[in-house]
């Protein structure tokens, strides 16, 4: 059988790596292009760029570690592990942390990345756990700006072509310190609807396409390879600013019958939740209430209310849920009127971007345009404060699903993905 030398996986990929184990593989084969399609329209993989579009941010965080790497990464249990750094220790005066870096790290232009003295020193009096967590975050990735402005990374793939929001080609980095990836390249088509992706998959134009959580069962029964993650998208209602009074927001939250939506429309995929982060990540999501209480909702809004309501109409998985939410809200005296542009409230997918609650909350803070998290707070306190301050109403945690061609092996560890030309198509 085959394996690779590297066990720890990208922060972005760590969560995907929790996906259901796929079929057994043999010794992997080099070569070939993996053709991937997705809904997200990612403008850039620049780690410092935080997209306001939550779906794009989720995809960016997933793909970025293939190009740009961090000194530290989180393992499958969310624990920090050396990556570009080989270890960490404090200096003699106990005033700074020293991170020796690996030798022979090559940037995508072939030059060597080697900080002065072979290590990076960070003067920071915070606990090392916090420093490591921050260093594992996407925003701490090593990015070198070339003379022509190109951003160079150290990851297993380099960006050969990037048509912002439309398509991209990632090519194997032949001198990657962890060993050249098996694939020659990955082509990514962005902004593709689920229907278009399914169509391209069926005619063999794509090797990996997304599939809605509620649709995971049918292709599996037909024998198509399905890889699904633990819940990584939070379906939530997001309000536009603070102009909607708190009682109305609360009444809307209490009016929604999550249980019936989960049973019928989501086919029991994912989890009902009132928390932003899923249970597998925090374990405390049950502390956020998610029960329907229509009498209480009616008490909160004694007079009829009308709000404009937006959602991604192209997203066939979202539309019926949005319609059911509107019906539920009307029972509490709140009319949700469909809006195409700016809306009082929107049904959105918020991504879980990291295998660490703090890192995931930091990204959600940016997406929800909320105040920065208090560093002294626990993840639970920070999440509670974020929910209360942003007025967001989390509804469900949904898995991400992928349909895979039978030749795709080792998904979703992209460095280790290989194409089995002998597999039945």
């Amino acid at each position: 059988m085959g394996r690779t030398a590297l066990r720890w996986i990208a922060a972005g990929n760590a969560i995907l790596a929790l996906a259901v184990a796929l079929e057994a593989a043999r010794r992997p084969r080099y070569g070939g292009e993996l053709r991937v399609e997705m809904r997200a329209a990612v403008a850039s993989l620049d780690p410092s760029a935080v997209s306001e579009d939550p779906v794009a941010l989720g995809a960016q965080r997933q793909w970025m570690p293939l190009v740009f790497e961090t000194l530290i990464r989180l393992d499958n249990q969310g624990h920090p592990q050396p990556w570009l750094a080989t270890s960490w220790t404090h200096d003699a005066e106990h005033k700074a942390w020293i991170f020796p870096v690996r030798k022979n790290i090559k940037l995508h232009d072939g030059s060597t990345w080697s900080p002065a003295g072979g290590s990076i020193t960070i003067s920071d009096d915070r606990p090392i756990e916090q420093i490591l967590r921050e260093l594992a975050g996407a925003r701490s990735a090593v990015v070198v700006k070339a003379e022509d402005g190109t951003l160079l990374g150290t990851g297993p793939f380099r960006v050969a072509r990037w048509d912002a929001g439309k398509s991209a080609t990632l090519v194997a980095h032949g001198r990657y310190w962890g060993g050249r990836p098996f694939l020659d390249s990955i082509s990514i088509q962005m902004g593709r609807s689920l229907a278009d992706q399914a169509s391209d998959f069926q005619i063999g134009k794509a090797d990996a396409v997304e599939i809605a959580a509620r649709d995971l069962r049918a292709p599996k029964q037909r024998g198509t390879t399905i890889a699904n993650t633990p819940p990584m998208d939070t379906l939530a209602l997001q309000f536009d600013g603070g102009r909607i009074p708190a009682p109305v927001r609360q009444a809307l939250a209490l009016s929604i019958d999550r249980a019936s939506i989960h049973n019928v429309l989501l086919q029991k995929q994912g989890e009902i939740s009132g928390a932003l982060l899923p249970k597998w990540l925090t374990g405390y999501s049950f502390l956020f209430p998610a029960e329907r209480d229509l009498p209480r909702a009616k008490q909160l809004v004694p007079s009829p209310q009308s709000l404009t309501f937006g959602y991604e109409r192209q997203d066939a998985a979202i539309r019926p849920i949005a319609e059911r939410i509107a019906v539920n809200a009307s029972e509490a005296g709140i009319t949700l009127r469909q809006a195409t542009g700016t809306a009082d409230v929107r049904l959105v997918r918020l991504p879980v971007t990291a295998g660490d609650p703090w890192l995931a909350l930091q990204d959600l803070t940016a997406v929800l345009k909320a105040a920065p998290l208090s560093p002294a707070a626990s993840p639970y306190e920070a999440e509670k404060a974020l929910v209360e301050s942003s007025g967001v109403i989390p509804l469900f945690h949904l898995p991400r699903g992928w349909m895979l061609s039978s030749k795709v092996k080792n998904w979703p560890h992209f460095e280790d993905v290989w194409l089995d030309s002998g597999a039945a198509q």
Binding site: M1, R180, G422
Partner: protein, 342 residues
């Protein structure tokens, strides 16, 4: 309300830590009525034990007690188990948490007729190993290292750097008298066994450059591994299957096996050891086969490894195998021998 998550190594420690925190949150006049629920994979017996222990730890004698509900929830996240108490008062709910992990014991290996013996273990991926009368050579992704046995343990004597930087790295070590030949992707090197001179390397060789495959420019084309058994040749091919060819190189059969094969010449015959088809994150095995009418017939119980087998090469009357231990993260080189008496 401040929630600081305590971390503990055992359930008892976690309950004690949580009880201490929850107790500090109770008013002097309050007594706790502990309820619990388990929404984790923790066995029910352990969950019940946790509730009992928490209730006992929160017991106190007060005059005119005011009872408050302390709801214990046993949950879990990707790091381990999480104990959460909610002290529920009319005006507020106070939350406290404690985490703990349970280590899963490694199962003992199963019995087998082909015997394996651990020769060497290290963190750097081992590609091949050779045990000589007075020394041991370990070829890994950094290069070749020579050890000598002294006072019952192997001492590192010398090393040459011949790094391999591909995924699924492979390499073969052959010794001949005082010299060792090293085959790695895209390069072949020779070096004196005692490393008295630098390695002489030249491009090319049996492994393709930047690949995990072999190509000897013969009828076999590109393949993972090959072994000759009688007049037949076994090829672990690029399609992930083992192909059996006859003496005229005509394909005879295809076998769903692993990607490494090695002939073991022992017990008066030649047999072939073959790896399993597990993936890189699962335990693996090696079993012994004979060829009967161009078909592989298993003749031994598989030798089980607690991780993927990454290399299998013939060695003397047996073979050497390298397996990655999923529990320790180390690579172990094993000698495989056949017990002729069983």
């Amino acid at each position: 309300m401040i929630v600081v998550i305590a971390r503990a190594d055992t359930l008892d420690e976690a309950v004690a830590a949580l009880a201490k925190k929850a107790s500090a949150r109770l008013e002097s006049s309050e007594t706790a009525r502990v309820t619990s629920r388990n929404i984790s994979s923790l066995p029910a017996a352990d969950a019940a034990k946790a509730q009992t222990a928490l209730a006992r730890a929160l017991q106190r004698r007060v005059r005119n007690p005011k009872q408050v509900e302390v709801a214990l929830t046993i949950s879990e996240n990707l790091r381990g188990y999480l104990l959460v108490t909610e002290i529920r008062r009319e005006s507020e709910t106070v939350v406290e948490m404690a985490e703990f992990r349970i280590e899963v014991p490694v199962l003992p290996p199963a019995a087998f007729t082909m015997e394996s013996k651990l020769l060497w273990e290290q963190e750097t991926p081992i590609l091949d190993i050779a045990v000589l009368p007075d020394s041991m050579l370990v070829l890994d992704t950094a290069g070749l290292t020579r050890y000598e046995r002294r006072a019952g343990k192997w001492d590192r004597m010398s090393a040459v750097e011949i790094p391999v930087a591909i995924r699924d790295p492979r390499g073969r070590l052959e010794t001949n008298g005082d010299s060792a030949t090293i085959h790695e992707p895209g390069v072949t090197c020779t070096v004196p066994i005692k490393m008295t001179a630098p390695a002489q390397c030249e491009e090319g060789g049996r492994f393709k450059a930047e690949r995990n495959t072999q190509d000897l420019n013969d009828w076999r084309g590109e393949f993972f591994a090959s072994a000759e058994l009688g007049t037949d040749t076994l090829l672990a091919g690029m399609d992930g299957r083992v192909h059996i060819h006859d003496t005229a190189h005509a394909p005879q059969a295809v076998f769903d096996g692993g990607s490494d094969v090695a002939v073991i010449a022992a017990c008066g015959g030649r047999h072939v050891a073959l790896t399993g088809i597990g993936d890189a994150a699962s335990p693996d095995s090696i079993a012994l086969y004979d060829l009967v009418n161009h078909a592989l017939v298993r003749i031994s119980e598989p030798v089980e490894f607690s991780g993927p087998v990454t290399a299998l090469w013939p060695a003397g009357e047996g073979a050497v195998a390298v397996a990655w231990n999923l529990s320790t993260g180390k690579y172990g080189a094993y000698s495989l021998t056949l017990d002729c008496g069983r």
